[in-house]
Amino acid sequence: MKFYRSHVLVSVSDTSVLAGVHDFIKALRSELAKQKLSDEINVLETGPLGFFGRGICLSVYPEHVNYQDLKIEDIGELVEEHFLKGRPVRRLMLDSFGKFSPKFNYENRIVLRNSGVIDPESIDEYLGTGGYEAWEKALTEMQPMQIVEEVKASGLNGRGGAGFPAGVKWSFTANLEADQKYVVVNADEGEPGTFKDRLIMEGDPHQLIEGLMICARAVGATKAYIYIRGEYKLCIQRLEKALAQCREYGLLGKNILDSGFDLDIDIKIGAGAYVCGEETALIESLEGNRGNPRWKPPFPGVEGLWKKPTVVNNVETLANVPFIIKNGAAAFRKFGTEKCPGTKVYTILGDVAHPGLCEVDMGTTLRTIIDDYAGGMKQGFLFKAALVGGAAGVIISEKYLDVKMDFASLNEYAAVLGSGAILVLNEKESIVDILWSIIRFFRHESCGQCSPCRNGCQSLYNLITKIRKGDGTMDDVEMMITIAETMFGTSFCALGQSPIMAIRSAVENFKDEFIAITNK
């Protein structure tokens, strides 16, 4: 093996591809060759680095210097100063602030522990970090029910939305006798403002696959699917590559590691429908139908894909599983709070200094996330509100900044946590306008199967459009709440049950704004 003086990890994700990272890497390599540094400096492609930065970002090890927003024109200076003379180029560095030192950012990680550290396209690098040890343990040392019990004991809640305990979900399916069972990964991430699953898959596809394998073993499924949206091209490429590597290494297929267990995993691509994030709609879509949600019960765990017992889990949920199996439930419980152990991945957008991605303990307050991880508000902007959880989320005001973010403390707001989207709004943004945009989204995405949602979304849209124009009254605002409450009680699935959250929170937290616009 060759030894290099420095390793340069360049983030190759959708964001940096947009900024032309491929050409950048080519130019960087050729400049290093020109300076005769190719044998000393190793340029590696990796996933998202765990800080956002803008444009093309890279980390230099072992000194752990982060650069952001690099251009091809910067390469000459970067190579000469940093790699030749050993003087980091301040002008291009991502400034550190508060707790935002890379070290801090890496300490508390489970899901993103490899993201930005290893080459996501190499199974050997994943194996080098202890990857697939949990899979081996699950296959050779543990009985399926032991795996289920371990996950139950860990207290892992589903990271897709509602936060249902994953181990309990698995136990329903594991206890059933059936000639065929399935596991499906829900990677149909469509909640506006949410892209944590994309970053998890781009940064460390093997970890998701390992979690999926362990789940399949636990419940006795021999066939698994990853249902992913068609727009996530880079994820699809990396997952396909990762699956091929697993087959080559004998980690997938027939009689895996001589355990007698068979498993195969296929990738299925969606066709663009928000409602397919609902697990029964997703199953309908996999079967080649319109993505209309099914009546529950029976729940998919009992009767799912092709009427067979099926576990549907979110990407982030499964990405936590290898850690739990390898290190035990107690190690997992060291993170987060008692009722909600573990970590949570958030994407922070909007008017903060460093929009980005972070993985923090469950129960971390929004204030900590904004101040310590996102560098506070962007200079010259004041905090007004945050839309937490995307369109199916809530609009919260300053008084919620110190509420612990976990499924237990957020109570009625808990359902919004799964998506991990935090959109920070400054004092100039209009809450009415944001709400209009959210309701327009629901109107478009309602599948139309049940009338409370189909008609309700349209009525809400008519009312909010009228209010936004300045033609509405406070009675119209009250009417919106009544309609959304009715939808909550009568809609077939979570889509129609969601608009109430944004509407009620917006009206409760920013009533003055609604009064002002209706008094015009």
Binding site: T15, E191, E231, S285, G390, L423, F441
Partner: protein, 151 residues
């Protein structure tokens, strides 16, 4: 064309979504014609109305002819607050079309879409398979020009 596509997929209903994707991608006008629906119905042995139902449910399919390049501008809240409205106005003016329409030369179709999951770079649009982020009116002009020149 159909024969070649069908040969890749077993005639089972769960392959419908993939077959439709491929037919649409291969068609020069990026849509699924009535004729295609009939052919697929025959191959999969499912009623044509089921296929039509699927086709009109998912936003990625079109039942009307479209242009060579399909522009999909995200209108979800994170892009909306970053100025989708201005970008849309610019695109409409540049292309002289309304939402859902195709330019006279058949070169572009303008569509709106929901979140593309690249919100860190809002506002965002996709042209065919490629994503463009951090859009400004000037940037949009350059991008459209690039596609025009690639005629």
């Amino acid at each position: 064309m159909y024969k070649e596509i069908f040969s890749k997929y077993e005639p089972t209903k769960d392959n419908l979504i993939y077959i439709l994707h491929e037919i649409q991608d291969k068609h020069p006008q990026h849509y699924i014609s009535e004729d295609a629906v009939d052919k697929v119905a025959e191959y999969l042995k499912v009623p044509a109305n089921h296929i039509y139902g699927v086709l009109t449910f998912y936003t990625m399919y079109s039942t009307t002819p479209r242009g060579k390049n399909i522009i999909r501008l995200c209108e979800s809240p994170p892009c909306y607050i970053k100025g989708t409205v201005n970008i849309l106005r610019k695109l409409k003016a540049l292309l002289d079309v309304e939402i859902g329409e195709t330019t006279k030369d058949g070169h572009f179709t303008l569509e709106l879409c929901a979140c593309l999951g690249v919100c860190g770079n809002a506002p965002v649009m996709m042209i065919n398979e490629d994503v463009y982020g951090d859009l400004t009116e000037e940037k949009v002009e350059d991008i459209i020009e690039k596609y025009r020149r690639a005629k």
